[in-house]
Each structure stands twice: as C-alpha cells, then as structure tokens.
C-alpha cells in the first residue's frame, strides 16, 4: 500500500507528457487547458490529503503497542484523547478549508468555461446531429447555399471559436473531444450548445461518451484543427459536388451507387443519390475513417466495409447488400475518387 504514496504527482507529469489524440491531459483547446489546470490543482490537493491519511495510518500501525487495553481506561488516556481531539478539529478544518478552496477554483474555472467566446470573435457555426451510430455534421452560414454537410469528421480553424449545436435523432449521445473540451450530451428533443476554442493545430479524436446501444464503441469523430487558410481551402473543397468518375471502373461504380441501394440512404452531391438517413458520401474519400472511426479510410477499409458492414460493425444500420466481385471493385473504385 505504500507504493502508491508518491504516485499521483509524477503520474500527472506522465499523463500530460504523452497526451494522445484522445486525451484529457491536453491543452489544445482553451477549455481543455483550463480544465486540465484545475485537474492538476485538484490532484495535488487530494494527493496531499491522501498522503496525510496514509501517514496517520502508518503511525497507528507503528504505535500498536499502545497502552490502552481492552477498552479499559488507562492513566494516559485523557491526555491522548485531548490531543486526538485537537487533531480531529484541525483535520476537519483542513478538510473544510481545502474543499472550499477547491470549490472556488472549480467555480471560477466553470465561469471561465461558460464565458462563451470572451473576445466576441465571429464563430464557426456547426450543427452536429448524432445518430445510432454516426455523426451528421452540418456547417451553416448566413447564405444557406454555402452550407456544408459531411459526416464523422469536423474541421476547425485554429484560433477561431466554433459554436456547435448538438442534437440527436434517436437516443442520448455525448459529444466529447477531450483534447479540446469537456463533454456535452446530445439529447432528443433538446438542443445543447458547446463552444470549442481550438488553439493548436492537430488531429484529435472524439468519441460518443454516453452509452447509445449496440455500437456505442464505434461512434468516433475525427476532429481536425487546421490553420484558417487550410480551413478555408477545406470549406471550398467541401462545397464542390462530387467529381465525375473518370475510369470505366469508377463509372460502373457510379452507376451502381447512384441507382441502387446506396442511393436510398446516402447523399452524393451532384448525383442522383440524395438519401439523408446515412452519412454524406460526397467527399468520403477525403475523410480519415469509415463508419465513424470503425475502419481506416483506405482501399482495404473500403472493401471490408462495403462487402460486409455487419462484420466490421455488427448491428449498425447499413445492410449487407451482397455485391458481387465486379460490383464491389466498381463501387470501391468510385468511392475512392470522392476526395
């Protein structure tokens, strides 16, 4: 039990040292930075208390030849009782005092988080709609024809606050990009808002953090923070319709995708595929993952997903269509062109 005495403090260092793409101990966002500082404060204070408790316990252990016997009062009892009582009040006071300190720290951090966009910058506006088990991402602008719709991937310009409206189409989900901010639930019938203020360029991963059914585990979201210029390039690219297929194979795939089962649910801008109940595929090949983080976006991933979506993500709502080999090659070839 003693081995843990000094663990907490070095552990904070350890954890913050290796912040991954889905890590609480990061300050890539204004919010996550504030929270992590608060966490470290809490960690230090609680560690001190833990050390105190363990020290007292060890003292009790070493002192076990104490004079008190079998519940019978002894001569030194009154003095010890008095010193214990003093210690008791000191301890209680310390607990209350430091809890108050922590409460205040927490309160002011929370105020800091809640002061949405303190510099009053123009914000990126996003509607994020959760579905079992994928994310529908809609950027909205004053001119609605400039709106962008994508899925399972959010791009954000660094240094620009983003106002994300959270909605759900089915059950409760939770939006959580630990590197940028804390989580916020998406609840059917309600609209929650969260403001992200990304500060550092990078690729982060978000994941649904509220149990939402069979495939809760496979409901991730790539968050790419990039420079404002890159972001504008990305916006412009997203607004383009899907490129026309060039090769005969891709053309065959195009024909299949736009006329068959795929088009019933998926949308590919600029084609006859206008479905809205499944992720938008217009620029699917430009994204990093398939099926909300289930598979990497590459040829193998595409083949695996199209041929057997229920194998990779059992229970998801994409049916196994039963493509033959030619169709599979064609569809995959076409989807690969949708950069």
């Amino acid at each position: 039990m003693r081995r843990r005495l000094l663990l907490p403090i070095p552990l904070f260092v350890l954890v913050s040292g290796c912040a991954g793409i889905q890590s609480v101990s990061d300050d890539a966002g204004r919010e996550s930075g504030l929270i992590w500082s608060l966490f470290v404060l809490f960690g230090i204070v609680t560690a001190i208390f833990y050390v105190a408790v363990i020290a007292f316990l060890i003292a009790a252990y070493w002192r076990r030849g104490g004079s008190n016997q079998d519940g019978l009062p002894d001569e030194g009892g009154v003095t010890r009782e008095r010193s214990l009582r003093t210690a008791f009040f000191l301890w209680t006071g310390a607990v209350i005092g430091s809890l108050s300190l922590l409460a205040l720290a927490s309160y002011f951090t929370d105020r800091g988080l809640a002061s949405v966009n303190p510099e009053n910058k123009p914000m990126v506006g996003i509607d994020l709609v959760a579905n079992q088990w994928w994310w529908d991402v809609r950027y909205h602008y004053d001119d609605p024809s400039q709106n962008i719709r994508t899925a399972n991937e959010i791009h954000l310009p660094a240094g620009v606050p983003a106002m994300i409206s959270l909605k759900s189409n089915d059950v409760i989900h939770s939006f959580w990009v630990p590197n940028l901010a804390g989580k916020q639930d998406l609840i059917p019938g309600r609209i929650n808002d969260i403001v992200l203020m990304p500060r550092r360029i990078g690729h982060y991963r978000a994941q649904c953090a509220e149990y939402c059914g069979l495939q809760h585990a496979h409901m991730a979201l790539d968050v790419i923070v990039e420079s404002p210029a890159d972001f504008q390039r990305w916006e412009a690219a997203q607004r383009q319709p899907a490129p026309a297929p060039a090769t005969p194979l891709a053309q065959a795939g195009y024909a299949y995708v736009t006329s068959r089962e795929c088009s019933t649910c998926h949308n590919i801008a600029g084609t006859n595929a206008n479905g809205t109940v499944a992720p938008d595929l217009t620029h699917v090949a430009g994204r990093r993952t398939i099926a909300a983080g289930t598979l990497p976006m590459n040829r193998a991933g595409l083949y695996a997903w199209i041929a057997d979506p229920q194998g990779a993500k059992p229970g998801n709502n994409m049916p196994t269509v039963g493509l033959n080999a030619d169709e599979l090659h064609a569809v995959a070839a076409y989807l690969e062109t949708l950069k």
Binding site: Y61, I172, R205
Partner: protein, 641 residues
C-alpha cells in the same frame, strides 16, 4: 374459558432459567422440522443467512460477468463476443451488483445482526421479512433466467431513456429489467420498514440512542434512505414499463415527455443508493476497528452525526450525474458544493477510525486488515470523487474509465472490503466456527493487490480518453497494455474470491469452534452463543454503556418476565429504551411464500399484458387475506399491561 391471571403464565425469571428456560423457549421459538420449517420460518437469522448466501451467489454471477467482459477487453478490437452479448453482460453486472448484491446483502447483514445487537428475540414484522426474501429471490432469478434465454437487459443498469424506451429497446429485455427493479424495491422497502421498527422500538432496556452500536445507526439511516429514495426509482421504472407496454409518453420528448425525467428520478435514487451501500459498511468498519483496536470508537457522536449528515446530503447530489446534460449551468454549482460537502463526514469518519487504531492496541487479524484495505482504497475513491464534484473536471472524466475506477474504488473499497471483513468477523457468530486465518490472509492479499492492479490503471485509461461501456476499442490509442493489466488484475481478484469461498466452506465444516465471544468484542451479539439460539437471548439483556460486554465482563444484567409459552418481544421507548410494552411476534407461516408467488405471477405477467395487473391482483389479495386471517381468539391477557 378459564381466565388465567398474569401470574399463571410461564415467564422467564428466577423460577425459569438455565436449561429448562432454553428448552421452553426453543419449543416456542423453534421452527417446524425439515422442509416445511425451512419454508415457513420467520426467524430473522435463518432469513438473514438465506439473504446473505443468495447475495453472495449473485456476487459470484456478477463477478463472472465482469470477468467475461474483462476477457473481451483484454485486447483491442477483440471479436470474442458480439456487442449484444457485451451490452447484456455489463448491464447484468451493474444491475446485479447494485440491486441484487450490494443493497440486499447490506440489508441481509442488518436482518441478521440488528436484533442481536440490540438484544431482542426477532425482527419486527417477521413474516414481511420472509416475504421480502422470496420477492428478492424471484426478481433475481427472473432476470438471470432471462439472461440465459438471451432476453437479458442490454440498456445498462441505469437504463437511460430513450435507449431503454419502446423504440430503441425492442422486445422484453428492458421490461424484465424494470420489473426486476420492482421486485427488489418491494423487498428492500419491506426490510427497511422492519429495520426502522426494530431499531426504534425493540432495543434492549437501557440502550438509548446514544448507546446504539454504530452498525445499528448505519442500518437505521440506511433504512430511512431506502424509504425515501426507492420510491423514486420505483416510479421511474413504473413509468418506463407504462411507456413500453401501454404507450404512454412520459419519456417521449416528441410528445413533451422528457428523457431527463428518467435521469432525475433514477439518480435521485441512484446516488443515495451508493450511501445505502456505504453506510452499513462504515458500521462494519467501526465494529471491527473497535473490537480489534481494543478501544471504543473515537468520537462516537461525530461518527453518528457523520452517518446522519451523509444520509441527508446524499439526497442533494444526484445532479452531479447529469453535468453534461445541459441543465442550467449556474445551478450545477449547488450540486458541486453538496457533493464536496459529502466528503466532510467521510473524512471525519476516516480520521476517527484511524484515531481509534492509533489510540488503541490494534491486532491486525484478517477483519482489521480489510479495514486497512478499506481506508487505503476508499480514500482514493473518495478523493477522485472530490475531483468529479467539480463541474469542469466532471465534464472531462464523466463516462470514462476514470469514473469506472472511481466507483469501484468507492464501492469495492468502501463496501466490499468491509463486507468481507465483516463476514470474517461475524462468521463465528453465524456458524459457530472461526474462519481459517492463513487462507483468510492469502485471500486478503490477493484481493487487495488484484483489485489495485485491476482498477488503478483505469484512472489513466479514463484520462487517456477511453469511454465506458464500449465493447471494444481501437488499437492505436495507447490503451492496450493498461487494459490487459486490468484484465490480469480482475483474474487475481476472482482467484482471491475463490480462495475466500473455499475458506468459508472449509471453515464451515472444519473451522475451529468458536465460543460465544471469540474476539472479545464489546457488542451484545456476542453475549449469546454462537450460533445464537432461535430466541437469541434467554433473558433480554440490559445495557448501561456503548460497550456492554467490556463494561460488564462478568455479569451482563438482564431483564425477565417475558412470556415463554408464546412468542413475545419487549418493546421499549424510542429515545431512552425504557421498557414499554410486551408485544407478540408472528408465528411461522407459509403465507408469505404464497403471497410472494402470487405477486411474482402478477409482476412477471404484467411484462406481457397490462391486464395481468387486474387479474393478478386477485391471487395476491387471496394470499394476503390468508396471511392476515386471525388464527386464534385473543389471548387470555391483554397484551398491553
């Protein structure tokens, strides 16, 4: 009819004592022999043991489901089991641990121990007690049979709507879960009522509230908490069943119902639930610490106040489960404050226990080892709880493995370790034999180390972004090694439990025979033989201090005059425990069982049709009429003198 005067009735006293009294009392308080006696018994000890054993079986089942889950999570992108199986498993694990193990076993310990600790012959409402066990058993069996039949619930032990609603949880899985809640509700409320009545009215003369053992205080506070919190979840689950079965819209946001209503109702129960489990455990800790430190617990009034304060504050913290739901942000501050405040009584108690050890002469036998493990572990859980009371921090760690680590530290550390200590401590009282010390120590160290290995890494998994309730995880997230470590730890814990159970079974048969008070403990339960006779005490003891057996080592004063030809209890006043009236205690009866069966039929069939409530009410009514049918003309003397 001959009218007998009070003097003619056989009573304990100077004329009647020793073996003759024992024989007379055994005849009056004994059960019928064989199976019939087993079915009809109203003895709190037999029912308590039954409860404990059943609770332990559910602990094993829930533990096995945890092991199965840990196997799935041992490696990334594991396809050992389907997500459906995993979801059923974690639902069953949580549900069983919370509803079928933790709450019932704490109440079971109270059922067994409280009458002994306060020096009475039986629990109040003993038939209700029997009934509650059958209900609990039926609910637990129902849900586990359903799991075996692949209709196990899969919406989590918290069953958030609308995921658990009619649209997103097709079939009868969630109905079975919700009805299981109803079963355990009935059982838990019944026991709570019995305990409150027993504790307030049946204490031995002289056992004022200020002399009440701390476990009894814990049981009393817990019982009140059950009474106030359980109706909330009963309401929630009834509304859920109504939504699912007859299409009401309580949780349908589209029709202006509210899925958050569920969360409020559920956590209004769910958070006090944690203290319902924890407070009796603090009672165990106090008793063990006291007995093995050879010193009365330090600052008894502070301990009692802590218990009561915790019980009150527990009802003001439920929203800290809902910080991410987007409720008004400023309002959260209140719940942060309340949650932080709950740690104050816990800190006080921790201090008092250590102070007791410090000031005493602790003998580190197995029960006290568990207390030390409790302190070492629980304080970590408590401190990580302090972190989560903060809204910003909670927004990051909520629903991650950090929380999984936190509440396992709190619940296993705070309740299971004390429970195992208590089990070892009172095992001689239950069985008359001591548990093996060597095996006990082996089990202790395995369980302690295994637990830390299994759950400490989860703190880091949470901080590294791993969410809860995922059936698998991708490989490149840096979570692989820690998950494998957690799985290894969980197997060590499982092995430790195996050792513990083997020890219990072995000791039951071969353990050293224990006397009435093998630990030289101060409580009244040690004043009678091990195991205690059906009537608990030949004479009702009289108490004049908090540690009666230490203060009256040679001669425990008793009170006489209770009838021995009929089951009679002594009722005392609520505050000062001044003898008040003599009261009859119910005879054995099979009606509680029949009533439980009728209620079971009603509950189970109402999963399938609402008409079951109407039709099923008739057998229930019939059983209750049978239960309360006057058996004999009033006795020859008025009960109240």
């Amino acid at each position: 009819m001959t009218v007998l005067s009070g003097k003619d009735l056989p009573r304990d006293g100077e004329q009647l004592q020793g073996p003759a009294l024992d024989a007379r009392l055994a005849r009056t308080w004994g059960d019928a022999p064989g199976l019939w006696g087993w079915i009809t018994t109203t003895d709190h000890k037999r029912i308590g043991i039954r409860y404990i054993v059943t609770g332990m079986v559910f602990l094993v089942l829930a533990g096995l489901s945890a092991l199965w889950m840990r196997l799935q999570l041992a490696t990334p992108e594991n396809s050992m089991m389907t997500p459906d199986r995993y979801n059923q498993l974690f639902t069953m694990h949580g549900t069983t641990m919370m509803f079928l193990f933790a709450v019932p076993i704490m109440e079971a310990m109270a059922i067994y121990l409280v009458p002994l600790m306060i020096g009475t012959r039986n629990i109040s409402f003993p038939r209700l007690n029997a009934f509650s066990y059958w209900m609990y058993l039926a609910g637990g069996v129902m849900i586990w049979v359903a799991f075996v039949l692949n209709i196990g619930p899969d919406a989590g032990w918290f069953s958030y709507t609308p995921l658990s609603g009619p649209q997103f949880s097709p079939g009868k899985r969630v109905d079975i879960w919700a009805q299981m809640i109803t079963f355990t509700e009935v059982a838990a409320l019944a026991v709570a009522v019995e305990l409150v009545a027993t504790i307030l009215k049946q204490r031995a003369p002289g056992m004022t509230l200020a002399r009440m053992p701390l476990f009894v205080w814990g049981a009393l506070v817990t019982a009140f908490m059950v009474i106030f919190s359980m109706p909330s979840v009963a309401l929630a689950s009834s509304l859920l069943i109504a939504d699912r079965l007859i299409g009401t819209h309580f949780y349908n946001a589209a029709e202006h119902g509210d899925p958050l209503l569920w969360q409020h109702l559920f956590w209004f129960f769910g958070h006090p639930e944690v203290y319902i489990i924890f407070l009796p455990a603090t009672g165990f800790v106090s008793h063990i610490t006291e007995a093995f430190s050879r010193r009365p617990v330090f600052a008894y009034p502070a301990m009692v106040l802590s218990l009561v304060t915790t019980g009150l504050l527990a009802f003001g913290v439920w929203v800290h489960h809902m910080f991410a739901t987007g409720l008004p942000r400023l309002g959260y501050s209140f719940y942060t404050a309340a949650t932080l405040a709950v740690s104050i009584p816990a800190a006080i108690q921790i201090f008092c226990w250590i102070a007791t050890m410090w000031d005493g002469r602790p003998r580190f036998r197995v029960p006290l080892l568990y207390v030390v493990a409790f302190i070492v572990t629980f304080v970590i859980g408590g401190l990580s709880g302090v972190m989560q009371a903060s809204v910003p921090i909670d927004l990051q760690v909520h629903d991650t493995y950090f929380v999984v680590a936190h509440f396992h530290y709190v619940l296993v550390g705070g309740a299971v370790f004390p429970l195992l200590g208590a089990f070892t401590y009172w095992f001689p009282k239950f069985t008359g034999r001591m548990m093996d010390d060597r095996l006990g120590k082996i089990a202790f160290w395995m369980i302690f180390i295994g637990f830390q290995v299994a759950f400490f890494p989860m703190h880091f998994l949470g901080l590294m972004g791993m969410p809860r309730r995922v059936y698998t995880y991708p490989t490149n997230m840096g979570w692989d090694e820690l998950n494998l470590l957690a799985t290894i730890g969980s197997f060590v814990v499982a092995a430790a439990f195996l050792v513990f159970i083997v020890n219990a079974i072995f000791s039951l048969a071969r353990g050293a025979v224990a006397g009435a008070n093998p630990w030289d403990a101060p409580g009244l339960e040690w004043a009678t033989s091990s195991p205690p006779p059906q009537y608990n005490f030949p004479h009702i003891p009289v108490v004049s201090s908090r540690t009666p057996l230490w203060d009256n080592r040679n001669h425990l004063p008793v009170m006489t005059g209770l009838r021995v030809d009929d089951r009679e209890l002594l009722l005392t006043s609520v505050m000062e425990a001044i003898p008040d009236v003599r009261d009859p205690s119910a005879m054995p009866s099979a009606w509680p069982l029949w009533a439980a069966m009728a209620t079971t039929c009603l509950f189970i069939s109402s999963i399938f049709t609402p008409w079951a409530v109407v039709i099923g009410a008739f057998p229930v009514a019939a059983a209750l009429i049978g239960w309360f049918w006057p058996k004999s003309p009033p006795g020859p003397e008025p009960v109240i003198e």
